[in-house]
Amino acid sequence: MKLDTKFMLETFIDVLGGVPVTLKITIVTLLVSVPAGFMMALSRAGNGRIGRRIIIAYVSLIRGTPVVLQILFLYSLLPTLLNYLIKEILGLEYNIFRLDPILYAYSVFILNTTAVLSEVFRSALSTVNQGQMEAALSIGMTKTQAYIRIIVPQALVAALPNICNTTVSLLKSTSLAFMMTVRDITAIAKIDASFGYNYLEAYLVIFFAYILLCSLVQGVFYLTEHSVSSYRREKAIRKAPVMQNG
């Protein structure tokens, strides 16, 4: 067996064209899901019973079904539903089937990632001990001030490794966007491969493309984590001239 290296190089260049799409889906999803997931975690910690039940139901619904199924479901259901809504109820002349499929990709991944992140933030919030909230209240801060200035910053730092995890797995699952005819990395590779049945080569190429992208994401998170969690390390003690014990 011989690999067609020329094809691989061409495919690699083609695939690079899909990187922005993959990154776009990842980033847009995160931009919506991080705040949404955080709000969910907060309201789950709060008093509202009904809100909490709804969130629990939503999270278990999302976590209890495969992403592929969610994609198939949403991609076949939503356009029909929207079409009905626009044509029959609103009476507008708009062809919903011409809508950019990336919007469906956003929807699925946002729904998914928000559910995952709300759990991530819930556990992160619980790592900040309640005593700090009491201390903040005891010096006259309001609950909101305490959350914004004390609890949330620490919870975010505690959540970073898990956010990184979520981001990496999100980036990988964007490969499923080809099912919604979005031309991301995977879609481009499959199209290229289908002309001459060079599937193995094409898959090898995107294999490395994903490894590169994911390593990049992990690197970014590593640096961020390092720079924001300085208060957890005892670095300054070594730097500053301090007397030793005794």
């Binding site: 001990n129 005891s138 006259g140 005892e234 500053a240």
Partner: protein, 250 residues
């Protein structure tokens, strides 16, 4: 200045406080003693609304309120007149020593930053941490952390300082530095309510000692009277036990 009457508090079926009164005048150093589970800490927390009492009234200067139904604005007012020092310090882990102290000034009281920094520096100097302004709590020893906790409390210039077992999470050799700071504050005329197990400290600084057991005040009086001539059997039993322990440790 501060008078609290008939405080009741139950956690589920467990009645922790069964009608506790306290009267505090300016400059008082009140030490609350008692065995574990006697309700000392809960009582202290009720004074700052960290725990909501089931019953009882509070008169604090011109504020008069029921403890159970106190409105948010009353609670904020009371909290601004008091400050709490916690057993586990409860420092803000993401803030340096000086930021911990400034937070109550800049955020809660809208003091301008420069002024707040000066007040915070004075407070940290007073507790002997002039060389630790920019250290995070994780970089400080337990005794130093508790002194930051005290600095955070005194910086907001409260009418009453509440201490909840401030030394019981500390290693024995670190207790001294915290007690020294507290004695200094007592000498300067601060009004303090202290829950503690440090008997010799209580004897030395208390202007009034309250002995609690089983959710009620068993006995109160001057430090001398309580330690040398307790009237109640339970008080003398308790003192006998802890003072013996104390001798034993020494």
């Amino acid at each position: 200045m501060l008078e609290v009457k008939n405080v009741h508090k139950a956690f589920g079926h467990n009645e922790v406080l069964k009608g506790v009164d306290i009267k505090v005048d300016k400059g008082d150093i009140i030490v609350i003693l008692g065995p574990s589970g006697s309700g000392k800490t809960t009582f202290l927390r009720c004074l700052n609304f960290l725990e909501k009492a089931d019953q009882g009234t509070m008169d604090f200067d011109d504020i008069h309120t029921e403890l159970k139904s106190a409105s948010k604005s009353v609670i904020t007012k009371v909290r601004r007149k008091t400050a709490f020092v916690f057993q586990n310090y409860n420092l803000f882990q993401n803030k340096t020593a000086i930021q911990n102290v400034m937070e109550g000034l800049t955020v809660a009281r809208k003091v301008p930053k420069e002024e707040a920094r000066q007040i915070a520096q004075q407070a940290l100097d007073k507790v002997g941490l002039e060389d630790r302004y920019d250290y995070y709590p994780s970089q400080l020893s337990g005794g130093q952390q508790q002194r930051v906790g005290i600095a955070r409390a005194i910086a907001v210039n409260p009418d009453v300082l509440l201490f909840d077992e401030p030394t019981s999470a500390l290693d024995p050799e670190l207790i001294g530095e915290v007690l020294t700071v507290m004695k200094k504050l007592a000498k300067e005329g601060a009004t303090m309510i202290i829950v503690t197990h440090e008997m010799s400290f209580a004897q030395e600084v208390a202007s009034k000692v309250i002995f609690m057991d089983g959710g009620v005040v068993v006995e109160q009086g001057s430090a001398k009277q309580i330690f040398t001539a307790p009237k109640e059997e339970r008080t003398s039993q308790f003192l006998h036990r802890v003072l013996k322990d104390y001798d034993y440790v020494i």
